[in-house]
C-alpha cells in the first residue's frame, strides 16, 4: 500500500514547500555562495574596490601562524568541551537512572540549562569568574589561587570550556538517560548475579551498550563546539587574551567584521563549510548506521 500522501494537483506540493525552500535559499545558499565568491577577492578596508585574486586568500591563510594556531585552539576547545560535557552528562544520567523518588523534578532541573542562550550562559560564567568582582574568584583567591583569565590564556580557555560545556550537559544528559533506560533491566540483573560490581557492570555492560549514543553525541558535541559557541566566546573572552580562545568561528567574525578583511574571512568560512560537510558525512555514514556490537 502506498503510504505517502499523493497530491493530485501539480502545483500544490511545490507551493507547500516553497516557504522552506525560500528560507533555505535566501538565508543559507545565497550567503554561502557569496562567501565562496568573496573568498576569491581582495577588498580594500572601506569596501570601495575589490579585485579577483584566485587562491591568494587561502595560501595566505595557511601561511599565517595565527590561523594555524586558531585551528589548534579550536581542536583543544572542542575536545575539552565534548569530553567535559559528555562525561558530566554521563555521570548525571547514570545517577538519575538510579533515582526513584523525585526523579522527575531532578531530570527537569537538569534539562533547564539547555534553554539558556549561549551568550547568557557566557555572561553568567564570566560574572562568576570575573577577575575583579567574581564570587568564585574571591574564593579561589582565599585558597591562594590567582585567578585572572583576562591575562591568563589557559584560564580563559578553561572558562569558555566550562561555559560551553555547561550548556551542552543538559542535551547530552537527555540522550544518555534515554540510552541507559533502553538497556533491559534483566541484563543488569544478570550481570549482578554473575558477580559484577556496579562499577564493573557499568564499564563492561552498560558503556558498550550505549556506545551508539556516545558516538552520536561525540559528533554532535564537536559540531556544537565548532560552530555554536560563538555567543559564549563573544560574551566572555572575545577570543582573548592574545587569541588564546580564538576558535575558527570567532576568527571568521573577527577578521571579517572587526579587522575588515572580507576576503580572508570568506576564505575561512569556506574552509569551515568543508569541515561541516566532512562532519555531516561522518554523522550519516557512521551514526545513522547502528554501531555494531
Amino acid at each position: 500500500m502506498e503510504k505517502r500522501v499523493v497530491f493530485k494537483s501539480a502545483w500544490l506540493p511545490y507551493a507547500l514547500v516553497a516557504p522552506q525552500i525560500a528560507i533555505t535559499v535566501i538565508f543559507f545558499f545565497w550567503p554561502a555562495i557569496e562567501a565562496v565568491y568573496y573568498a576569491f577577492l581582495v577588498q580594500d578596508p572601506f569596501g570601495l574596490s575589490s579585485h579577483f585574486v584566485w587562491f591568494q586568500n587561502f595560501t595566505e591563510l595557511f601561511a599565517s601562524p595565527e590561523y594555524l594556531d586558531s585551528f589548534k585552539t579550536t581542536a583543544v576547545f572542542s575536545v575539552l568541551v565534548a569530553a567535559l560535557g559528555m562525561s558530566i552528562a554521563l555521570l548525571l544520567a547514570a545517577m538519575a537512572d538510579r533515582v526513584i523518588r523525585g526523579s522527575l523534578a531532578y531530570k527537569t532541573m537538569l534539562i533547564w540549562p539547555y534553554a539558556v542562550a549561549p551568550a547568557i550562559a557566557g555572561v553568567l560564567w564570566a560574572f562568576m569568574f570575573s577577575p575583579s568582582i567574581g564570587i568564585v574568584t574571591y574564593y579561589l583567591l582565599k585558597l591562594g589561587l590567582n585567578w585572572n583569565w583576562v591575562i591568563n590564556g589557559n584560564q580563559a580557555m578553561l572558562l569558555v570550556v566550562m561555559a560551553a560545556a555547561y550548556k551542552q550537559v543538559s542535551y547530552n544528559f537527555l540522550f544518555f538517560l534515554a540510552g541507559l533506560q533502553s538497556i533491559p533491566r534483566s541484563m543488569i540483573e544478570a550481570a549482578a548475579i554473575d558477580g559484577a560490581s556496579p562499577v564493573r557492570r557499568f564499564w563492561t555492560i552498560i558503556f558498550p551498550l550505549i556506545s551508539p549514543t556516545t558516538f552520536f553525541l561525540l559528533v554532535v558535541n564537536i559540531v556544537y563546539a565548532f560552530f555554536d559557541t560563538f555567543g559564549v566566546i563573544d560574551a566572555t573572552t572575545q577570543g582573548g587574551p592574545a587569541a588564546a580562545t580564538e576558535i575558527l568561528v570567532y576568527k571568521v567574525y573577527y577578521d571579517g567584521v572587526k579587522a575588515a578583511d572580507l576576503g580572508g574571512s570568506s576564505a575561512q568560512s569556506v574552509i569551515l563549510m568543508f569541515i561541516v560537510i566532512a562532519l555531516t558525512v561522518v554523522q550519516f555514514r557512521f551514526v545513522e548506521r547502528k554501531v555494531q556490537y
Binding site: 533491559p184 534483566s186 541484563m187 540483573e189 544478570a190 550481570a191 549482578a192 548475579i193 554473575d194 558477580g195 559484577a196 564493573r200 563492561t204 555492560i205 558498550p208 551498550l209 556490537y293
Partner: protein
C-alpha cells in the same frame, strides 16, 4: 547443591502485601516449579530467592545459611531470564565466560567449563557468534549455559520458555528435564503454564494472590486439588464446576439433578457447594454412574480426542471424548460420571471438602 528454605517470607510494596507469609522448603537436588496466573507473585518470590528483591519479613536460607542480607552474586545461584538477558556485545563464549572471569578463574578452567557446557547444550559450533546471530532456542540455551558454567548451588528459572514458539517450547522443556537429570542441581522454575509445571516438576507450588495454595507432586495436585483455584488452574482443559445447593444427603446441581454427597463429607458440608468434574471423567455412552443429559454446542476435534463444549442448565461443561466417537453439534446425549470422580468445594471459602474436618 543446596536446600532452599523460605521461612515466613513476605513482600509488600508500600502498603500492599503481594506475598503473604510463605513457608516452603526446596530439597537439595529437587526441581520445584512455582506455577500461578500472572500477577500472583511467583516471579517476585523467585527474585527474592535470587536477591534481586528484598523480603519485607521472614528469612531465606540457602544451604542452611541466612541470605537475606547477602548480595545476589554471593548467594551462589544462577538465573535464567525470560528475555534471556544475554550480553549482546559479547560472543556466546564471552557470555558464558563473563561470570567466571569476574570470579577470577584461570583461563584453562574457564575454557574447560565453557567447553563442557557447550557440549551438554550442543552450542559448540556457535561459541564465536554474537547472540543476534542465533535463533530463539539457541539463545535460550546460551542463557542456560551461562548458568551451568557457574556450577551454582541452585538454578532459578524465570519463565524461560515463554518467548519461544510452541514447538520449540516442547523441545526445550525436554532438554531442561534431561539437563536436570544429568546435573541434579536444585532448581526453582517459575511459569504460568501448567503444562510446563506438570511435566517438569518433582514438586510444584501452586500460587495464587501471593499465597501457596498447594504444594505437592504434579499428579498428586492434579488428582487431589486442595482448593477451587488449584482444581481450575491445573489440568487442561480445566475442571468443570457446577454451582450446587445442599439438599439432605445430596447436592442439587441444576435442573433438579441431584448428586450424592459422600457420607464422610456430610457433617461439614455448607449450604452452598461447588461440584467439580474433570472433562475426561464425563464418559459418553457409559452405563455406570450418574447420568447427565447434555446438549453439545461446539466440538473441538484435536485428533486423538475431541473436546465437546456442552451446556447443562446454563452451566458450560466440557467433555473429553475419543476423537473418533465425536457426535455432531446440536445433539443431546447422555454422559455418565462415577461418583468417586466428583470433587466438592465450599463455594464461599473455595476450599475442598475433606472427610473428617
Amino acid at each position: 547443591m543446596a536446600e532452599i528454605v523460605l521461612d515466613g517470607v513476605t513482600k509488600s510494596f508500600g502498603k500492599t502485601e503481594v506475598i503473604h507469609p510463605v513457608q516452603a522448603t526446596i530439597a537439595d537436588g529437587e526441581f520445584v516449579v512455582i506455577v500461578g496466573p500472572s500477577g500472583c507473585g511467583k516471579s517476585t518470590l523467585l527474585r527474592i530467592i535470587a536477591g534481586l528483591e528484598t523480603a519485607t519479613a521472614g528469612e531465606i536460607r540457602i544451604a542452611g545459611k541466612r541470605v537475606n542480607e547477602v548480595e545476589p552474586k554471593d548467594r551462589n545461584i544462577a538465573m535464567v531470564f525470560q528475555n534471556y538477558a544475554l550480553y549482546p556485545h559479547m560472543t556466546v563464549y564471552g557470555n558464558m565466560a563473563y561470570g567466571l572471569k569476574i570470579r577470577k578463574l584461570s583461563r584453562a578452567d574457564i575454557e574447560q567449563r565453557v567447553q563442557r557446557a557447550a557440549k551438554i547444550l550442543e552450542l559448540g559450533p556457535y561459541l564465536q557468534r554474537k547472540p543476534r546471530e542465533l535463533s530463539g532456542g539457541q539463545r535460550q540455551r546460551v542463557a542456560m549455559g551461562r548458568a551451568i558454567v557457574r556450577e551454582p548451588a541452585a538454578f532459578l528459572f524465570d519463565e524461560p520458555l515463554s518467548n519461544l514458539d510452541a514447538k520449540l517450547r516442547v523441545q526445550m522443556r525436554l532438554e531442561i528435564q534431561k539437563l536436570h537429570r544429568e546435573l541434579r542441581t536444585t532448581s526453582v522454575y517459575v511459569t504460568h503454564d501448567q503444562v510446563e509445571a506438570m511435566t517438569l516438576a518433582d514438586r510444584m507450588f501452586v500460587i495464587n494472590a501471593g499465597t501457596i495454595e498447594q504444594a505437592g507432586a504434579p499428579i498428586e495436585v492434579y488428582d487431589d486439588p486442595a482448593t477451587l483455584f488449584v482444581a481450575g488452574f491445573i489440568g487442561s482443559p480445566s475442571m468443570n464446576f457446577l454451582p450446587g445447593r445442599r439438599e439432605a444427603d445430596g447436592v442439587e446441581v441444576g435442573g433438579g439433578m441431584k448428586v450424592p454427597l459422600p457420607e464422610a463429607l456430610r457433617a461439614s458440608a455448607p449450604q452452598s457447594l461447588t461440584v467439580g468434574v474433570r472433562p475426561e471423567h464425563l464418559e459418553l455412552g457409559g452405563t455406570e454412574g450418574l447420568p447427565f443429559r447434555l446438549n453439545v454446542e461446539t466440538i473441538e476435534a484435536l485428533g486423538a480426542d475431541s473436546l465437546l463444549h456442552t451446556n447443562f442448565h446454563g452451566t458450560p461443561l466440557v467433555a473429553r471424548v475419543d476423537g473418533h466417537a465425536a457426535p455432531a453439534a446440536g445433539e443431546t446425549l447422555t454422559f455418565t460420571v462415577l461418583p468417586r470422580h466428583l470433587y466438592f468445594f465450599d463455594t464461599a471459602s473455595g476450599k475442598r471438602l475433606r472427610a473428617g474436618r
